[in-house]
Symmetry: C2
Subunit: 492 residues, 2 copies
């Protein structure tokens, strides 16, 4: 707690790692690339889950649970999907350990317990789910199927970072089946909109909705919708994706339905997901050199009350006032912590909650007892105010709303300032290198150009914005004709 | 839906399997022993999770998340625990697949991607968690640690059954660390009490709290507290366990704390868990030959409204009434479904919700429109009543409470009728064989006797009840002196 954070300007990446650990959000585990999500970090995830889950249910989805393991033969059925994930699969090959005959107290894998068919630990569940949908879908009456799953998945990434890229992560994955192409596309767009609403309204992170270029699409998708956010270091972060899968999985698993006219057609599919990666985006969007800054809508503790006292008698008197304030706030469903621990000094506590990003901090001292006042401080602006204890409920209610909006506006202004139109490749390179952010530029629509730009600048196409104005132009790299600008950036 | 269930009296086990599938709760997957939990089954699990989670939080616990994988060297650190689970471990040995050079479009495990150290898919998380607690605990100030995790675990069982015993299952596992033995024992007992309260009050299943004999204890525990329920076929089912782990894991992972007096002591531990197995208990306790019977407190749909009409006009008129009733019930937080699907007949719908165990069914026909009445039927008793539409809210509110209590009382009476004291081994054998249920008998306290009884009767000691009256006696098998009766039964 006593450690000072490395300032963002000195080393952004180090700042991020320190904040995750010092704010007690997560830490690395003994398993390469797998993280431990600590209670404070997990409490944020629970809030996110609760809101997303409500939104999924409000749009007609139900939760279900499918197996962790995917038999290799199912995994490889949809070839593009398999190709996309094969290189990062954890594979279960045996189902038993036995005592090591050469080493007492140690265990070895029992060679006699080799599986006939290896099991892939799911990197995503399309294969296992579409193999199941095959038996669930016979007729148009069985459609649509609108299912979501909250689960852990494993992708054996070589370079990992807490929350942003871990070998195991928690996520939700929606998997829907539809009678028509149009309906599936509407679903994929709808869920991308749900993600956008959630990330903007709860996480206070402005996002740009768009589609991915072919090379950035989900393996097995015909179209990938996405929401893209901009971090404080000028790098983009893909915050959620929703895929129109066409009939690829239906064909791979032979899922057909009898139409109302008596025909037999392949089913249309979508899948969509967001993960604990969002917590990384949350941290990087709002936090500062003092620590985490949390938007009130997701903060596990929205208000902390810290007593400042000398001796037991004062402590008791202040505690009485603090408890009353706490109760009056909790009546309005505000999440309050009264930190009355005697073994830590107020200064230590101030630091702790600053580091943990609690949106509002109330301090009550002996003078406040006399005057009926208290000090209230905003975490995001670090500004303080003295107010009457009688005004506390209205003040806090109002301030939590203001902070939520201010965080969004601040991030949005930063994002707007960091979208730059460029029209020649020299400026493109210079902007990416010196300023970062999104570069809005004409692109000729080919993989080759995208690849060449990536090689030269490390920037990729983050998305083709949904709300794009079409305009004639020439590709910033090839000089070939282009119909619209797309957004490039370096990314997480 | 049209299929009739095999009656319990004909084949209880077949009845169970059919009900799980036909009531749309779960099904087997392509992965041996792993189940798919379907939306209706998962909705029950969500209700259970929500209530348990509240109870855990109310007793001071926080949620966190630890890795799915346990490196083999950590797994084997606590020898008894490792020995207990080694034979049923799924083991990850590789982290990549590659194209099969001999077989286009197929994948093989890449031999070059062999892990240096194999990873066990967690069968339980003590090892990975205590390896973490080592760095979290330095001083008495860091204690207690009260953490729960909602997760999937894998135990490679050879004989599996939906919900009751599956290779992968969902559960929660609490893992706490304490400064003193006394505090850890209080925690273990408290959580067993929480389980008892939940299972009795929400699942309407009466349980007996007790401790396990040594041979039935959790591998690595010094004492296992449990709750035991009795199924309709006279077999017992362990519904939850809470373990006092002593200092076993602290010693295995070298977790010591500085006491307030300046000493250095090993930390005391507990762990406790319930799983999707509880859904199996729920089904087997209350359901009948018509299908599932759900206690109102956990039913995803508490009341279903089915319209009975001819023609569009009648349908519209009835729908108006039904929607009003639905709204008035939902105002009281009652979970209502109005099934206005035109493509299914009322009789089909009656069967469907009977099979799915919806506690109350309302039917509204043309005559009810005239008379302002409706028909309301209880799923548990299959009894019907005609009541005024005006009385619906009070009636439903009252009936849901009554059903909840009646289900518990019915199950409790059954349980009481099926606890039999026996005092000689011939009666013991006869009772177990012919009547089943719990047999209350004196036992000399040795593993040998327990093992011999198990061999001869397949009955094991389910628990040593917490509320046992001590009485002098002689062991039903060995004739050696005994101080108390214990409960034997065949079990799931």
């Amino acid at each position: 707690m006593a450690n000072k954070l490395t300032p963002r300007s000195t080393d952004y990446s180090k700042w991020y790692n320190e904040i995750v650990v010092q704010a007690d959000l997560a830490e690395n585990s003994a398993v390469r690339g797998c993280m431990i999500i600590k209670p404070y970090g997990y409490a944020i995830w629970e809030k996110m889950q609760a809101e997303l889950d409500k939104m999924f249910k409000a749009t007609g989805h139900e939760n279900a649970y499918f197996p962790l393991f995917v038999p290799k033969s199912l995994f490889e059925a949809e070839e593009k999907n398999a190709e996309g994930f094969a290189k990062e699969c954890a594979v279960v090959t045996h189902y038993r350990l036995k005592n090591d005959p050469d080493n007492k107290g140690k265990l070895i894998v029992d060679p006699e317990a080799k599986l006939e068919e290896e099991l892939v630990v799911r990197p995503t569940s399309e294969a296992v789910i579409w193999n199941t949908y095959k038996s669930w879908i016979q007729s148009y009456r069985d459609l649509p199927i609108l299912i979501n799953q909250w689960a852990n998945v494993v992708r054996w990434e070589m370079r990992t970072r807490l929350f942003l890229r871990t070998a195991e992560f928690l996520w939700q994955e929606g998997h829907t089946a539809h009678a028509t192409k149009a309906e599936a596309i509407i679903e994929a767009k709808q869920m991308n909109q749900v993600y956008s609403d959630f990330v903007q309204n709860y996480m206070a992170i402005p996002v740009i909705q768009g589609t991915k270029s072919e090379s950035e699409r989900f393996a097995g998708a015909e179209e990938t919708y996405c929401i893209e956010a901009l971090m404080q270091d000028g790098k983009a972060l893909q915050a959620g994706t929703s895929h129109f899968l066409g009939q690829n999985f239906a064909k791979a698993f032979d899922v057909k339905y009898a139409t109302s006219q008596g025909g037999l057609e392949y089913v249309w599919a979508t899948s969509w997901g967001v993960s604990t990666r969002l917590i990384g985006a949350l941290i990087m969007t709002h936090s500062d050199d003092h620590g985490l800054v949390l938007p009130p809508n997701l903060a596990p503790i929205q208000v902390v009350i810290i007593p400042i006292y000398k001796g037991d008698e004062q402590q008791a008197q202040i505690a009485e006032v603090a408890q009353k304030i706490k109760a009056s706030l909790e009546e309005k469903n505000i999440r309050v912590k009264f930190d009355n621990r005697d073994k830590f000094k107020p200064g230590y506590k101030f630091n702790e909650y600053e580091l943990k990003g609690v949106p509002l901090r109330i301090a009550i001292g002996p003078k406040d007892l006399e005057k009926g006042t208290l000090e209230i401080a905003r975490r995001d602006t670090l500004s303080k105010q003295y107010i009457s204890q009688n005004d506390i409920v209205d003040h806090v209610t109002g301030q939590l709303e203001v902070i939520q909006i201010d965080l969004f506006e601040k991030a949005k202004n930063f994002r707007e300032e960091n979208i730059r139109e460029v029209n020649d490749f020299e400026s493109f390179q210079k902007t990416i290198k010196e300023k970062g952010g999104f570069v809005s530029a004409h692109w000729d629509g080919t993989n080759e150009t995208e690849e060449a730009i990536k090689k030269k600048t490390k920037a990729t196409i983050r998305c083709i914005p949904l709300e794009n104005t079409l305009e004639e132009g020439v590709c910033v790299f090839s000089g070939n004709p282009s119909k619209q600008r797309v957004l490039f950036a370096k990314s997480y």
